[in-house]
Point group: C2
Chain length 283, copies 2
């Protein structure tokens, strides 16, 4: 019971999340015993999967299987769709990525660099900022927790303004970005992690009038709508880039299902460095 | 000096606005003495126009000349671009228009009805609501000043949600609309009149996460970027519709340049009914 007197009742349910699994039994001829798959599974050692929608067979088992929860799976595909499909980027454009060391952000930044864009990322610790600059090849990176005035910070990093923003956080970062967007800018809204767990919504976004004055397109998307592009992304884009070493990928691995709750909670305060993975069982 | 002790200094300048004028002298061979034009002119009896960018010769002088400040000019073109180009509307979609009795809004609503959409407008008085329903043919209309809970109001008018929103006001209306948008909705941001004159920005938009969950595209635009489509809009779309009586247009006419300041100020409290026009000189 919280202090306003409301009672919240939780019905225990298995938490779902993107996982990699091996099929131990199947009545579906397309998925045979021994096949490796990725898709929505349960936080449990054995899952009964009733729908094959959004379930993909793993063909390239020579790459680390955990990559299919990240760079080769939903987050990687999200980065690809958000950057290429939603933002229609061009060489030389100025790209800003928030939550840039996360599973989506680190890839967006690397895709943008490969295209010849100028890329700056924001993250919440010195370690992450170093990672962005030294491992992922971002042109620059900022620690948003050390910036009292995000608008002024963005003006330092982008004196010419921002063409493309990959929005992962929302809140005051979005407000500062709007002030620094260039004419005809694009904002792909992947998520707004700062807004997910607020008891009351925060102060709100105040600079939306910039959408008009700068003719900005701001578009939310969910990667489920782009499953038809997944095979192309996987085979033509990301697997070759990973195998050629042109893209780097960092995971933060927790071991054991019993450590999954702490790993989840840690995401909201930025404890993870790179994609948070939980190893439930090894082959 | 305002109460915080700041001193504001204004340098007197001629206010500019969209006007209709007759050329009394010209050194440009494309614009001859006697030609009628519309475009950005001064709030004055005679203007010296140095740039012909955004200046259009009036060919259809058989329609009221004041219409070129509205339905046949910038606001009409704005309605056309915002609805057709930005929102890609389809027959049967649910369309909501704010500031719906204004120069842009009344046209968007009528374009949407002609296409076979379901259209509701919001305005700030009973007279305007009546105008929307009885003169412009909106399916329904609401007086936002009488609605304490805009979210609940929109749920009454759009039990199935909103596909397309023509945003002219911003603020709490936008927040309520976001909660009521349908998946794959489009928001064309024409303006945000509630935000123009705030000493401090208001409480901000809090429901932007809906952009992601509902895959909404929100796009600001300025009609200047679409001048290439103006001749098509004028000759193929709006002039035929006006001449055939398929589109109605309401103006609120103030007479005399000395009444222009009050007419302008009145816009921000919604005193005008329809497009506010000021007659400076008659032929």
């Amino acid at each position: 019971m919280n202090c306003t007197g409301k009672i919240k009742v939780f019905t225990p349910q298995t938490i779902t999340g993107y996982g990699v699994a091996k099929i131990v039994d199947s009545s579906n001829p397309d998925f045979k015993k021994g096949d490796l798959i990725w898709g929505l599974t349960g936080w449990e050692e054995y899952s009964l999967i009733k729908s094959t929608q959004g379930l993909f067979k793993i063909q390239n088992a020579d790459l680390p299987l955990s990559y299919y929860t990240g760079i080769l799976g939903m987050p990687g595909h999200t980065a690809y769709i958000g950057f290429y499909e939603i933002c229609s980027p061009e060489k030389g454009e100025y790209v800003f990525v928030s939550a840039a060391s996360g599973a989506v952000g680190q890839l967006v930044g690397q895709f943008a660099k490969l295209l010849g864009c100028y890329v700056v990322g924001s993250a919440g610790s010195k370690d992450k900022v170093d990672l962005l600059k030294n491992k992922f090849g971002f042109d620059d990176a900022l620690n948003y927790k050390e910036e009292r005035n995000l608008d002024a910070a963005l003006k330092r990093y982008f004196p010419n303004g921002i063409d493309i923003y990959l929005e992962n956080v929302g809140g005051r970062m979005l407000d500062a970005v709007l002030l620094n967007m260039r004419v005809n800018g694009r904002i792909a809204v992947c998520g707004m992690i700062s807004q997910y767990n607020l008891e009351h919504p925060d102060e709100g976004t105040r600079n939306l009038l910039c959408l008009v004055t700068k003719r900005i397109r701001m578009e939310g998307f969910l990667v489920f709508d782009y499953y038809n592009l997944y095979p192309k992304f996987l085979e033509m884009v990301v697997v070759p880039l990973v195998k050629q070493g042109k893209i780097t990928y960092v995971e933060d691995v927790a071991k054991g299902l019993e450590n999954a709750p702490n790993a989840l909670v840690g995401l909201f305060s930025g404890c993870n460095v790179g994609k948070q993975v939980v190893v439930v069982a090894s082959e």
